[in-house]
Each structure stands twice: as structure tokens, then as C-alpha cells.
Amino acid sequence: MNTAAIKAIYLNEMSRFFRTIGQSFISPVISTSLYFVVFGAAIGSRIQEVEGVPYGAFIVPGLIMLSVIMQSISNASFGIYFPKFIGTVFEVLSAPVNFMEITLGYVGAAATKSLFIGLVILGTASLFVDLTIEHPFAMVAFLILTCLSFALMGFIVGIWAKNFEQLQLVPLLIVTPLVFLGGSFYSVTMLPPFWQTVTHFNPVLYLISGFRWAFFGVADVPVGISLGAIAIFFLVCLTTVWWIFRTGWRIRD
């Protein structure tokens, strides 16, 4: 195992993050505050409780997931697309590293950044609402697994993308609708029966549900199924990345 290479890639990626640490910190604080103004104060004042949880607190896990998923994808996809775009990827491809080491470096850094943003949102949210976390270890485990899985997905998007438009396509057209319709701001039980059934085909539902269970002990689907769903998603992404490096698809001629 070339641990020096993993560390080098990881630190190089993180240095870009630290270069813009102010922006990285301030933008989730502002967006979270805005969500609380709109959903918490304006709408939340008309909805008292959802499944026994005050609405302001109820949306916190969904809000964290929304940002963490989007950030993981954009950080990881940009992380590998940028070296492809400016040509510096040649160095990684000609170095004595295997796919696991390259992936650990890039995906690890992208997941770390989104984990940081997730924690900033959690901190900001706790300024607006009273939060108690019933299963803190499960909460951290769900958060880390989500960061890693979607960073892996972003890594695939970054390798697949041939231009900046394609880089934006998957997050905008696929992930945003899935996250919004996955119960970020509502409980699935609030939907008509038909849409409840449709929602169960949305993988993000299982993530948000499991994450919300870690906070409040209430969930739309059993927590075991949530954990299974994210584990399967993680493995599918990992297998895809392994296949990409094995075949050199869109990365080696």
C-alpha cells in the first residue's frame, strides 16, 4: 500500500479547501440560516409538530443531508475533473499507485470537506432550535457513510464528465430532485398513498430516514433497511470505480 501517495493526494486536495476556508465556512452558515428563516419561522409557525418532533428540529437532519450530499458530489467530481481538465492527472496516472490509493486520496478529501460542512450546519442549526441527538454514534456513522458514498458517486461523475456542463448535470437534474423529494422537509406519511409508494423508490429517502432516526428515534422506514440501502449504494459506487480503473474508462487511453 502506497500510504505516502494517499496522504499526498489527500493533503493536496485539502490545501485547496483551506485556501478558501472562509467561503467553505460562511456559505453553509448563510444557507442554513436562510432555510430556517423560510422553513422554520415562516412555514414552521403554521406546522406545529411532525411525528412528535417540532418542525424546526424535524428539518435539521434533511437539511444536513441535502448539503452533505450536494457537497460530497461537487467536491469529489471537481476534485478529479479539474486535474483532467488542466492535464495534471498525468502525474497520478504515471505514479506507482493503484485505484484504491487514488480513490482513497480524492474521495477521502472530498468526504472530509463535506463532513466539515455537515458539522457546521449542525452547529448553526443548534443556534435556531433545541436539538437532542438520541443516537449520536449512529448519527456520526450515517453522516460519514453518506459523505463517503456520495463522494464516490461524485468521483465517478468527475471521471465521466467531458465538460463543465456535464459536471453540473448529475447534481442538478438527478440528485437535487431526489434529495428534495426524499423527505428532507416533510415526513413521507404526509403524502397521499400513491406518492408514498413512489417515494419508496427514491434511495435518498432511506438515508434521510435513517439519519432522522439517529436524531429523534423516529423514521419513515426501519433503520436496518436504511443502513442496508446506504451500504449497497456505497458498494455499487466502489465497484464502479474499481471497474473504471481496471478498464481505464475515460481516464487512460
Binding site: I9, P83, I86, F90, E91, P96
Partner: protein, 311 residues
């Protein structure tokens, strides 16, 4: 001398069917500078990319210090440094951080002393805290070389190291390469600047359309294929070359004031003495004479055109 890099029947056919390498076989001796000479699209960069792992070969093999570049890629790649043709650097990164990254990628522990030595060797020490986008084109190319050297490779590939570099910097780069050779690094450089190959290389390999046409020591190539030209300036213009001088196959300048005679330096008789007598006998008065050795460029053009004629 032992071959540090052995390339055997290396082939690369791209998905679209274009065959960039058609069974290249080449040995590179330890400590030498080999110039890979060829026109654009000849397969120079593909050959380098295939040995370095950026391109996957479709046939044949290559070994570096006995390690196969595919089966034993970790050991093989650890021996290689690559300076690409394009200036591929992250614009906002700090110069010295670039070197730490490169060293780490090759599995070497962080070593500020080595980074300092390499930066000083390439006259980049004063620029170590600069961001890449603040550097001139020549400096950026030095950063690329520093990155390729910082993991202490035994073989260095320089892909068009002086493309787009001005004359002063080019000479500077030649000195850097000479220093690297003195340090024991084996260097393979691709170029289409023939004077570059002539000035630096111990051997020249000519590649065209994915095939190696020839590999020769530079001096041998110059000796074997090199021709000299004798230019004779005349006091009075000639309207045509006199019939009596036809055996010398002279070329008359457009203004009729100069004759050019080509001769083989390796031939038993150059014919110069006879030509001088014949000129005198024909009443042609000389003003000046000068000789010129044909350059590697002339040789290269001859070689490629010979191949085209025979194809």
C-alpha cells in the same frame, strides 16, 4: 553498458483503429541521452505515455530495470520521471508544495532537504513560495522538471522540453540536461528541433508513423550520413555551368555568382582539388570559398523522404 529500458514489439492501436505504434523495439542504455526524433504525429508521445502508464499498450512489452511496466508497474514507475510536453500545473498551487506532492505520489517520505536540493539545482529556490501562475513559461517548465526529479528517478523522459521556449532558455535547458546526465540520470528526450538532438544526444532514434526507422550514435549518424558543401563565390557571374564541369554536378546560384559542390567527407577522394583545377582551366575566377557540414536536420529530411520514396 546495460540497457535500463527495454522496449519490445510495443504496439498501440487506439479505439478508432489508428495504429500509433507499430511494434517498436528499442534499448536505452543506462546513463545515456537518447533523442527520439520524428515529425508531429510520429508516435513519440504515445511511446512515452505507454512506457509511463498513461496509455495502455495493445501489444508487446517494456521493462525498466527489469520491471515490466504493466505487471510490475509499481517498481517500474518508481524508476521513471516524466516531464510532459504541455505545461500541466495547477495554477494556484505553491511551487514547493508541487514537489512535496510529486514525491509523495511516488511513495517517498516528505523530505524538505531533497526538495531544497532539486529546487536549487533548477534555480527555483527563490521561487519556492510563489504560486505557479506567477511564474514565466520557462520557470513553469523548470517546475515540471523539478517535479519529475524530486522522487530521484533513474530514467527521465523529457517530452519536447524546449517547445515554445526562447533561444536563451533553450540553451539553459540544454545545460540542465547535461548536468542531469553528469548526475547519472538516463534521459530520453523527444524533439523535432534537430539542433537539440545534435547538441545533447548520445544517440538518435528516428521514429516515423509509429515505427523506428533507425537508431544510431549521433556522431556516427553525422559521420555516415553527413555531407559537406563547398560554396564558391565568383567574381564574374555565369549564365550556366560550363559543360566541362558537368561531372561535379554543381549548382549555380540564381544570380550566377556562386557555385555549390556537395561531397562526401568519407569518400576516398573528395574531388575538390580536381574541381579547383577545372575552374581555373575554364577561366573562372574565384572570389571566396566556404564549406558547411550538413546538419542532422538535413539528414533527417533525407531519411524520411527516402522512406517515403521506397514506400
Amino acid at each position: 553498458m546495460t540497457a535500463i529500458l527495454k522496449i519490445r514489439d510495443l504496439e498501440k492501436t487506439y479505439d478508432g483503429g489508428f495504429q500509433a505504434l507499430k511494434g517498436v523495439t528499442l534499448d536505452i542504455e543506462e546513463g545515456e541521452i537518447l533523442a527520439l526524433l520524428g515529425p508531429n504525429g510520429a508516435g513519440k508521445t504515445t511511446l512515452i505515455s505507454t512506457v509511463c502508464g498513461i496509455t495502455v499498450p495493445t501489444g508487446g512489452s517494456a521493462t525498466v530495470s527489469g520491471h515490466d511496466v504493466q505487471r510490475d508497474y509499481r517498481k517500474a514507475r518508481a524508476e521513471i520521471g516524466l516531464v510532459p510536453q504541455e505545461i500541466n500545473l495547477e495554477p494556484f498551487s505553491i511551487v514547493e508544495n508541487n514537489l512535496h506532492l510529486s514525491r509523495g505520489l511516488f511513495g517517498k517520505r516528505r523530505d524538505p532537504a531533497t526538495v531544497e536540493r532539486v529546487l536549487k539545482q533548477l534555480s527555483l529556490w527563490d521561487k519556492r513560495k510563489n504560486r505557479v501562475h506567477e511564474l514565466s513559461g520557462g520557470m513553469k517548465r523548470r517546475v515540471l522538471i523539478a517535479k519529475a526529479l524530486v522522487h530521484e528517478p533513474r530514467v527521465l523522459f523529457l517530452d519536447e522540453p524546449t517547445a515554445g521556449v526562447d533561444v536563451a532558455l533553450r540553451k539553459d535547458m540544454w545545460e540542465t540536461v547535461a548536468q542531469l546526465k553528469a548526475d547519472g540520470v538516463t534521459i530520453i528526450l523527444t524533439t523535432h528541433y534537430i539542433e537539440e538532438a545534435e547538441a545533447m544526444a548520445d544517440r538518435v532514434a528516428v521514429i516515423r508513423k509509429g515505427e523506428i526507422l533507425m537508431v544510431e550514435p549521433t556522431s556516427e549518424l553525422m559521420r555516415r550520413l553527413g555531407r559537406k558543401e563547398l560554396r564558391i563565390d565568383l567574381r564574374e557571374p555565369l549564365s550556366e555551368v560550363p559543360q566541362a564541369l558537368s561531372e561535379y554536378e554543381l549548382e549555380l546560384a540564381e544570380d550566377g555568382l556562386a557555385l555549390t559542390y556537395s561531397y562526401d567527407t568519407q569518400a576516398d577522394r573528395t574531388g575538390i582539388a580536381g574541381l579547383m583545377r577545372a575552374l581555373s582551366d575554364n577561366g573562372i575566377i574565384l572570389k571566396d570559398i566556404q564549406t558547411r557540414q550538413s546538419s542532422l536536420e538535413d539528414i533527417f529530411v533525407d531519411l524520411v523522404s527516402e522512406e517515403e520514396e521506397s514506400a
